[in-house]
Amino acid sequence: MRKGAFIVADNIYSPAGSTTRENFETIIGGGSGVRTHEDISISKTPFVASLIGEGRNGKHFPDSVKGFSRFENLLTLSVQDALRSGNVDPKEEKTLLIISSTKGNISMLESGGDQIAKADAISLVASAKKIAAHFQFQHQPLVISNACISGLLAIITAKRLIESDSYETVVVAGADEITSFIFSGFQSFQALSDTVCRPFDAARKGINLGEGAATIILSGNDKYEGNIRISGGSVRNDANHISGPSRTGEELFLAINSALDEAGLKSSEIEFISAHGTATIYNDEMEAKAISLANLQDVPVNSLKGYFGHTLGAAGIIETIITKQSMLEGLIVPTPGFEESGVSMPLNISNKLRTASITHSLKTASGFGGCNAAITLSR
């Protein structure tokens, strides 16, 4: 069996840029997509989030596809750029598309009327099929919807399908829109910060939501030997609470451990961690405990939520791509908003840009339903 899957190409489409390079340059330059918005279609009062300007209220994207929803157009723009930059042909026989999203076309509920009659249009399978047909993928796309670990789980699934030789190339694309449905829900949980979020900081008071689409193309073809690869990946469940994370961090630690095992790595070989870091009290505390349990407390760690917000189904993919870019460029992106640690376990975290030579890194995510995911990236 093959081990791991090479990263062939990628794209991030967010308010911080429409390519991976643009996004990376924006954030290392201290820019961010997060700002105050006034949009009564999302919230009656002003709010802080990272929103894509295009495509709302009938104003179309540069290359809108006729008959596609805004969500589907976001995914399409991202997939298109990744395919082009990687020179990957979606029509190849052993190529699969995986779509990751938490809520897809849920904005269609907002128009009211007979909601059940809209089920087919709202269904994630319908969106995935439209996008697969647009690019002429030869197989039915796979759809993953597993809360905030969807993006990482999609990458892990892609890696498994490549390792088992079911496919040679897998295009993993994720996106979510921020709509009144999602915004009102997080607001009802009192999980939203009214300022730019501050992951792991003592003064953190919640998350910012973000819109984005991202695509990562993975391959088992040896011609990509030398590219950074996904070397391990694992998922574990807290079995504790459906909306609150584990109090001990034990299960995220189990996911980290299992991902390291799969990659054949010891914790001492990890040189960088891209955390989930949502800036809620409980998530960040749980993650700090898990990182400590894994004996990774001295390893540089960051959270990107202050740049992109929490992009839900895209988050794991966006953050994996930025991790890959950090490894290529030897730069550890700062955690904006972090000043003084507000978690009970020590972490090596900084609000300054740092340089580092990184051979192996770890990316984690956790979500509602008690799910935790971890992947390792290796040179």
Binding site: M1, K103, S123, S145, N146, F181, G185, Q187, I242
Partner: protein, 186 residues
């Protein structure tokens, strides 16, 4: 139906009454059941019936039992109910169920299962994919056992078919193949 035999026949026709009747029949003394949405109730009850009382004596390590589920409409049934509350006061108790994988979380809590989770969306029960994915997890020793299958509810419809797959074959177990899974599902 459990293992090919009729397990219980509900008298009601309305989905929430059917689920309540099955719960009353099982009487598991699990008050959290009443807080769950319809999808979680369905998956949770199906797992109770699937595992029966025998499962817990098998003493699998918690992180070696996984849950791999699928359906067509994700959590739309609850999404619609939740969005109805947004006009007045958005309900956090409903919002948490607006993700399909919450049912896996509820099953995990009940049976202390900490292994691999995944929720896939298909327009029909895709036995071939589920069999391939779960077999992979068992073959590489990521899991020793897995609950997998289909859990769907929307409006008046309730449709669940769950399978317990174990790496070490059990007396009386049937083979884990797409053909057998489809036969059981139908």
């Amino acid at each position: 139906m459990r293992n090919g035999e009729l397990y219980f026949k509900a008298g009601s026709e309305d989905p929430s009454s059917i689920l309540a009747e099955i719960y009353e029949h099982l009487l598991p003394a699990y008050p959290k059941f009443y807080k769950m949405d319809q999808l979680s109730k369905l998956g949770w009850l199906a797992t109770e019936i699937l595992l029966g009382p025998e499962f817990r004596y098998k003493n699998y390590p918690a992180d070696k039992v996984g849950i791999v589920l699928s359906n067509a409409n994700a959590s739309l049934d609850t999404d619609i109910r939740y969005y109805d509350t947004v006009k007045d006061i958005a309900s956090p108790a409903l919002f948490v169920y607006t993700l399909p994988n919450i049912v896996a979380g509820e099953i995990s809590i009940r049976h202390r299962l900490k292994g691999e989770n995944a929720f896939f969306i298909f327009d029909h029960f895709n036995a071939g994919f589920i069999q391939q994915y779960v077999s992979g997890l068992l073959n590489n020793d990521n899991l020793q056992a897995c609950i997998c299958g289909w859990v769907e509810t929307l409006g008046k419809q309730l449709d669940a078919a769950l399978f317990l797959v174990e790496k070490t074959p059990n007396a009386g177990a049937v083979g884990f193949t797409p053909a057998i899974m489809n036969q059981i599902y139908q």
